[in-house]
């Protein structure tokens, strides 16, 4: 499996990571090597094998739908890079 620079660019956009040209070239090589290694999974006959969903076969855990106290908003906002009027502040979503 060989990933092209364009493949890396596509995946990076899905993952919301900005890459430089140089990084894309390097990563295309490195990610291809990892996928090459992983391709040994293609050798095994896995037809009819159930994919694992939980390692201990745990069933869904239920609890009462009761409200609990949340952290106060001023404490939650303390770590925010930017906040205003008890809200997280981000750059403009729409242009213009």
């Amino acid at each position: 499996m060989t990933l092209s620079k364009a493949d890396v660019d596509h995946v990076a956009r899905l993952a919301r990571i900005d890459l430089s040209e140089q990084e894309e070239i390097e990563l295309a090589k490195e990610l291809s090597a990892i996928l090459d290694y992983a391709s040994q999974l293609q050798e095994v006959d896995l037809d009819g094998v159930e994919p694992m969903s939980h390692v201990a076969g745990q069933q869904p855990v239920f609890r009462q739908d009761e409200p609990h106290e949340s952290l106060p908003s001023d404490i939650v906002l303390k770590n925010a890079p930017d906040a205003e009027d008890q809200q997280f502040k981000v750059p403009a979503i729409m242009e213009g």
């Binding site: 996928l35 992983a38 999974l41 095994v44 201990a56 890079p81 750059p91 403009a92 242009e95």
Partner: protein, 490 residues
């Protein structure tokens, strides 16, 4: 001065009899860090002021200290991916620089309740992604045994802090070997509990179906004592198991007569280090002489474990690390004019190389058109690996193997090629995929560096792996090897 490596029980007895005090232990920890950590670099942050304040709070209750718990008054270190209210937690990543958690992880809360004193946050590979602690965004940690070697990873800081005598114990996290591999490299004990045995609440998630918190200690008994304090179901973690927590020290009798010990040839790769092979074979012989019955078993699919793991763990990471977007906490790029650019520049500038690599591989494995070929096949392989272990455990009580195929490598030796670095976890990764408990205990030296013996148990049967590890430890006396080494080093 009390030697931390003599064990938590001895420290506890000294506290109880009044021959030492919590202040003395804390001072000793801080002095050891001041003396050694300039070189070793195990700690990202030492919170000695907070520790002293906490101690004052404890002591205020009574004039003469009498410990209420085995861990009461004992200092410890926390890997920097576990939250403690008011103390910076970065996962050794630039993207979380300055993050002050508003809450405490359940494990740290339980240690607080027991009276243990948090002394600082330990270095690690960024977001626990790595096998050498060289992926820390701040600095690499050195192996206290020999400082031109890596301590292993990703819990390299926690392990180095224990191995260098800076703290009596530390907590690490283990997703593919991150407690056991560094413990093996530095000559200490590391335990990964069964998936679900310990709450993950307050542990910054890497791969949620594999992550588990566990103790790093000087002895098997210490590992049992610390596990006792942190184990149990937790309302804050729905994956924590509602399974009874037994007395983990109950079976530490030294008696393993009649136990069935499995040995699988698949754990002994052709390319493995000869010294490691010999030390582990000698360890198996010791177990036999102690009265255990050695049985050959087969785990035919574990050779595919690394391939499955390096799709599944990055897939989960790509989802878990989506939360680091510069909005609610941590770093935000100032070079963006709109929201999308803010996300992608923040993540580009905030994440290190290996983290980006894994997010991209994981995103690819989950992306449209590749999901069936990669992610789903890897999950099917995980089922087969688990079935291999189930089959084996119908015949034996524990399985033993090397913890790592070779001893600690040199700093910088494997940073060029990710896949070579991944191979160092070939013996530990299958255990995370199967959810099982496993412990690494020192079993001698190869090329002058410590070797780890891995003992793997059935689901929720930490008692028996602790029993075997303890019986082995009592027989071989690695502590003497350690003492001889530290004298030589001086």
């Amino acid at each position: 001065m009390l030697d931390f490596s003599q064990g938590i029980r001895k420290l506890h007895e000294a506290l109880r009899s009044g021959t030492t005090t919590p202040e003395e232990l804390l001072n000793q920890s801080i002095e050891q860090i001041e003396q050694k950590d300039g070189e070793i670099k195990a700690f990202l942050r030492v919170n000695d002021v907070t520790a002293r304040d906490r101690l004052k709070g404890n002591a205020a209750a009574s004039n003469s200290f009498s410990p209420k718990h085995l861990l009461d008054g004992i200092p410890y270190a926390l890997k920097d991916n576990m939250c403690y209210e008011g103390i910076e937690t970065t996962c050794a990543s630039k993207i979380l620089e300055g993050y002050i958690p508003p809450y405490t992880a359940t494990v740290a809360q339980k240690l607080d309740d027991a009276g243990a004193i948090l002394i600082g946050k330990a270095n690690m590979d960024e977001f626990a992604m790595g096998s050498s602690t060289e992926n820390s965004s701040y600095f690499p940690t050195k192996n206290p045994w020999q400082q031109d070697h890596v301590p292993g990873g990703s819990s390299g800081g926690s392990v180095a802090a224990v191995a260098a005598g800076m703290v009596p114990f530390a907590l690490g996290s283990d997703t593919g070997g991150s407690i056991r591999q560094p413990a093996a490299f530095c000559g200490v004990v590391g335990l990964k509990p069964t998936y679900g045995r310990v709450s993950r609440y307050g542990l910054v998630a890497f791969a949620s179906s594999l992550d588990q918190i566990g103790p790093i200690t000087n002895s098997v008994e210490d590992a049992a004592i610390v596990l006792q304090a942190i184990a149990g179901a937790d309302v804050h973690d729905a994956t924590s198991a509602h399974v009874e927590v037994p007395d983990f020290t109950a079976k530490l009798t030294g008696d393993i007569r009649g136990l069935q010990v499995g040995v699988a040839p698949e754990f002994f790769a052709d390319a493995m280090d000869e010294g490691v092979r010999q030390r582990v074979q000698e360890a198996v012989q010791v177990l036999k002489e102690l009265g255990a019955e050695i049985k050959p078993i087969s785990l035919p699919h574990i050779s595919y474990a690394i391939a499955a793991y390096y799709l599944l763990a990055p897939a989960e990471a790509s989802s878990n690390l989506a939360r680091f977007d510069g909005v609610r906490y941590g770093y935000r790029s100032q070079n963006a004019q709109n929201l999308l650019a803010m996300y992608s520049k923040t993540r580009s500038e905030g994440f290190g190389k290996e983290v980006k690599r894994r997010i991209l591989i994981g995103t690819y494995a989950l992306s449209s058109g590749y999901y069936d070929a990669y992610y789903k096949r890897a999950q099917k392989m995980r089922t087969l690996i688990r079935q291999d272990f189930e089959q084996a455990f119908s015949q034996v009580d524990v399985i033993v193997s090397p913890t790592t195929p070779a001893p600690a490598f040199l700093l910088g030796e494997k940073t060029k090629d990710p896949v070579t670095m991944y191979m160092t976890d070939m013996c530990t990764i299958p255990i995370n995929l199967a959810g099982l408990p496993a412990i690494s205990v020192p079993c001698g030296l190869s090329q002058g560096m410590p070797v780890g013996l891995q003992i793997i148990g059935k689901m929720f049967d930490e008692q028996t792996i602790l029993q075997v590890a303890d019986a082995y430890e009592k027989t071989v006396d690695f502590a003497a090897v350690r003492t001889a080494h530290s004298k030589e080093a001086k």
